[in-house]
């Protein structure tokens, strides 16, 4: 199949997929097509689709492609769906999440050491919201559980992968500025 023939198929698959769909998954369905071709087609599709100026976008999230409404149109969509924005994370939960995101995998005692406060209730919230996941035990005395961020974390914060997190050092001189 040519790249141009692949594009409509990929568009339909991105649409039906509930989660961001990866190039690997796409290539698996498009039997016989090379991963490279699928990648090229998906990227071209995203660019073309997004340059239409329509109400929808194909975005790269959590390592895959996902179709969403354009951010600027949220007011109308929300009005139609009568949806409430989901419960905001507390500052404590966000700070704990930030520590986990940069220091993963990390244990609860290590988080305590960095934050200076216990974070168990924040961790429980983050687990319940599936923003973090357990990543096994640390091979130290007491074998505490290690935590890291999940795929839902990337989706929730609109990231394609962890490298898109802001540079921690950028926040070094906040106080002096």
């Amino acid at each position: 199949m040519t790249v141009d023939e692949l594009k409509p198929i990929i568009e339909s698959l991105i649409y039906v997929s509930e989660e961001p769909i990866t190039v690997k998954q796409l290539a698996g369905i498009l039997e016989g097509e090379s991963v490279d071709d699928v990648q090229t087609a998906a990227d071209q599709l995203a660019e073309e689709f997004n340059s239409r100026g329509g109400g929808l976008e194909v975005r790269q999230l959590a390592g895959g492609y996902r179709m969403t409404t354009r951010l600027e149109l949220s007011e109308y969509v929300r009005r139609y769906l009568k949806s409430q924005p989901s419960a905001r994370l507390s500052l404590a939960a966000l700070e704990t999440l930030a520590v986990i995101a940069y220091k993963q995998p990390i244990t609860i005692p290590e988080i305590l050491e960095i934050r200076g406060v216990t974070s168990t209730s924040a961790i429980k919230t983050l687990l319940d919201r599936r923003l973090i996941v357990a990543k096994g035990h640390k091979q130290v005395v007491g074998r505490p559980m290690l935590y890291g961020t999940s795929k839902d974390f990337l989706i929730h914060f609109g990231l394609n992968d962890l490298s898109e997190l802001p540079n921690l050092e950028d926040f070094e001189d906040l106080m002096t500025s």
């Binding site: 509930e18 934050r115 200076g116 926040f171």
Partner: protein, 255 residues
């Protein structure tokens, strides 16, 4: 992420709240999530450098806040007290005369660990703000309505913790219903056979009824029954019954 550095809603909010407060002590403890937040606030308020904290002054202020919190009957969390001890410790270290011969770079600044911790904490606070903004933005993107096929395809939809939770529930339930059975789960027929043999070594006969009454569960009763049958088969014991419906006596067979 430039916008994050100029616009920090949480910090601005916090500062505004402080400025508005006539009595700066009448601050909610909840504003300071932990001792590091309080310290950062004090450093900012005193307009001192985080790299050269006037430890005596900051410590004094810190302790004043703790006292005020206590007076206002706001419970002071243990972490705040630990930090107070750390500050006092650093303060005394700073008062110790330094070895004048030690080369400059060898001198450990007693504040170094604390400064590092504060800087790290500050960075994560900054990131938390960026994450917050990103989440707000992301909440504006909607995905398609659910389709019928969606109900068929979600994954197992459980995390390892939920798996453990489920396991724990099953085990608790199991324990509640058949506590004794579980407790004796390890029991085997071989153990029962040994037990009966031991009893027969101690006395010439054993009442079968009494033997079965000792059973804590149906499972154990079955095991005892099977053990008795096994012993009969092995010709190790013999069973006698004095009268119909009477107790069966187990007697040791002489080899």
């Amino acid at each position: 992420m430039k916008e994050a550095r100029t616009q920090q809603p949480e910090l601005i909010e916090a500062n505004a709240e402080f400025a508005a407060a006539e009595d700066q002590y009448k601050v909610k403890l909840s504003m300071f999530e932990g001792p590091l937040d309080l310290l950062l606030y004090l450093i900012r308020k005193e307009e001192v450098s985080i790299y050269d904290i006037p430890i005596a002054r900051i410590t004094e202020q810190y302790l004043e806040y703790l006292r005020a919190m206590e007076e206002l009957d706001i419970g002071v969390a243990g972490e705040f007290l630990v930090m107070a001890a750390t500050l006092i410790h650093i303060k005394t270290q700073m008062l110790l005369p330094r070895d004048p011969d030690a080369p400059e770079e060898v001198i450990d600044d007693p504040r170094a660990d604390l400064v590092y911790q504060l800087l790290e904490h500050q960075k994560f606070k900054g990131v938390a703000n960026v994450l917050h903004q990103r989440a707000m933005m992301e909440a504006a993107a909607f995905t398609r309505a659910s389709m019928e096929s969606d109900d068929d395809n979600p994954e197992v939809a459980a995390t390892v913790f939920q798996l453990f939770e489920v396991f724990k529930e099953v085990m608790d339930r199991s324990r509640a219903i058949t506590e004794i059975e579980i407790a004796r789960d390890e029991m085997t027929m071989a153990e029962k056979i040994a037990e009966i043999k031991l009893m027969l070594n101690n006395s010439s006969d054993v009442s079968a009824r009494r033997l079965f009454e000792r059973a804590g569960s149906r499972r154990e009763m079955v095991l005892i029954f099977l053990a008795v049958l096994e012993l009969v088969k092995e010709l190790a014991i013999r069973l006698t019954q004095a009268e119909t419906f009477g107790d069966i006596m187990i007697l040791k067979r002489d080899a």
